[in-house]
């Protein structure tokens, strides 16, 4: 399908140029991997007057770890995350999540920053960035902003990004306690599919937890009630059962083309139990290998 709308295309050479263009044009869009954008251009859902390609900006390709902060630049693809030593060694849950995103041909192009800018409710990056308390670093005419992940997603496909801003990257603090975690994704078949429900869990060695569900609401949902119930407790079967009951209070999924709300709720409980067990087992040096699905 051809793209009907005509626009200018600029391959940006530096950040100033991007910021200038975002200011000058009323309807500018940023292009990195294009796996979402080109589809939106074809259907006419977006009709920019300029498309700013940022793939030439080498400094956006960085995956860096320093001062206990991980930096993932806006140009980093899911394939690059999967292949990164830093990610596999220090943030294996990010690799585990990245491996579930679409297929190799998409992951070779699609970026994590693009994923959270599209902010489709079933995105896989959201829950993981939520449990890591990531910050989204933006730039624009008003200067740099650091937006905590819980303020980033504001609705279905809506983020806190202003119209004339660009996301430079994501910064993630290394948790200061020993921890482990798990990413669980429910889909209709193994292989390429969007999430019906997804779930990220961090388990710390003081038995506190961070738990975030995705694809069950317009934005990722931190399961605060469940966390409060189980933090610093021994996860005996009775407590696990109570935690599973709380799933119904913490999330409110809908019925859509991929699953009914009843199925999502039921499976979210199963995923919670298996994810918590896997995260705790990994914390103790065992558990399933990263990337091995627990459902």
């Amino acid at each position: 399908m051809a793209i009907e709308n005509q626009y200018e295309y600029v391959k940006a050479k530096n950040l100033d140029e991007v910021v200038g263009l975002l200011q000058r044009f009323k309807n500018a869009v940023i292009l990195s991997g294009g796996t979402d954008l080109v589809e939106l251009l074809k259907t006419g859902a977006v009709h920019p007057d300029v498309v700013i390609d940022i793939k030439g900006l080498d400094f956006l390709k960085d995956i860096r770890l320093g001062n206990n902060i991980l930096w993932i630049g806006a140009g980093v693809t899911f394939s690059e995350l999967i292949d990164s030593e830093i990610i596999n060694e220090h943030f294996p849950i990010i690799a585990e999540m990245s491996k579930t995103v679409a297929s190799v041909g998409i992951r070779n192009r699609a970026t994590m920053v693009g994923n959270i800018c599209s902010a489709v409710p079933c995105m896989d990056s959201g829950p993981v960035l939520s449990v890591y308390k990531a910050r989204i670093i933006t730039d624009g005419q008003i200067g740099e902003r650091q937006i905590p992940i819980e303020q980033w997603f504001v609705g279905n496909r809506k983020t806190a990004l202003f119209k004339n801003e660009i996301v430079k990257g994501i910064s993630i603090p290394v948790p200061d306690k020993k921890h482990s975690g798990c990413f669980v994704k429910l889909r209709r078949y193994s292989g390429e599919d969007l999430a019906q429900v997804n779930l990220a869990i961090l388990a710390f060695d003081d038995y506190s937890f961070r738990i975030t569900f995705g694809a069950v609401a317009p934005t990722p949902v931190r399961a605060m009630r469940i966390e409060r119930l189980i933090n610093r407790m021994k996860l005996v079967p009775e407590l696990m059962e109570k935690a599973q009951q709380l799933v119904e209070d913490d999330i409110a999924p809908i019925t859509d083309i991929r699953a009914t709300k009843e199925y999502r709720l039921h499976m979210a409980k199963v995923m919670l139990e298996r994810g918590l067990n896997a995260a705790l087992d990994r914390l103790n040096g065992g558990g399933p290998a990263y990337g091995k699905s627990v459902i």
């Binding site: 793209i3 080109v38 390609d53 190799v104 041909g105 998409i106």
Partner: protein, 151 residues
Amino acid sequence: MKKEIGFLLNGERRTIEVSPSEILLEVLRDRLGLNSPKCGCDRGDCGTCSVMINGKTVRSCLVLAIEVEDQEVVTLEGIMQNGLTPLQESFLKHNSFQCGFCAPGVILSTTELLAKNPHPNKEEIQEAIAGNLCRCTGYSPIIDAVVDLVK
């Protein structure tokens, strides 16, 4: 605003004038005469339009032609410039394809896999072609051919 872009296509330097709204898949097929990438879904789901950019498979239905300026693009035609590859011989031997519509994409995906990992296990092979939909074969003969080749 049309722009003349130059890029490497199957090892050969090509220049062509494109408008920023032209899709790479359409430029390759309709203007440069390369028929191996095919339009299946036109939205990134099926993998029949796969080509390689700088050695990595991408969906050419989701790439603007103008994006490949100064990049290296390889299609199946480029992979088999010196005849069938061992991988293709193995697909032939196993009668892996029926209609063949998915074949160029599958061959590119597995070529990419083998370049990175010469001895993948079955799971890794399945993962590599998870984004290449085949409506005929049920995938078994495709996977068997790769397993046979790397064993």
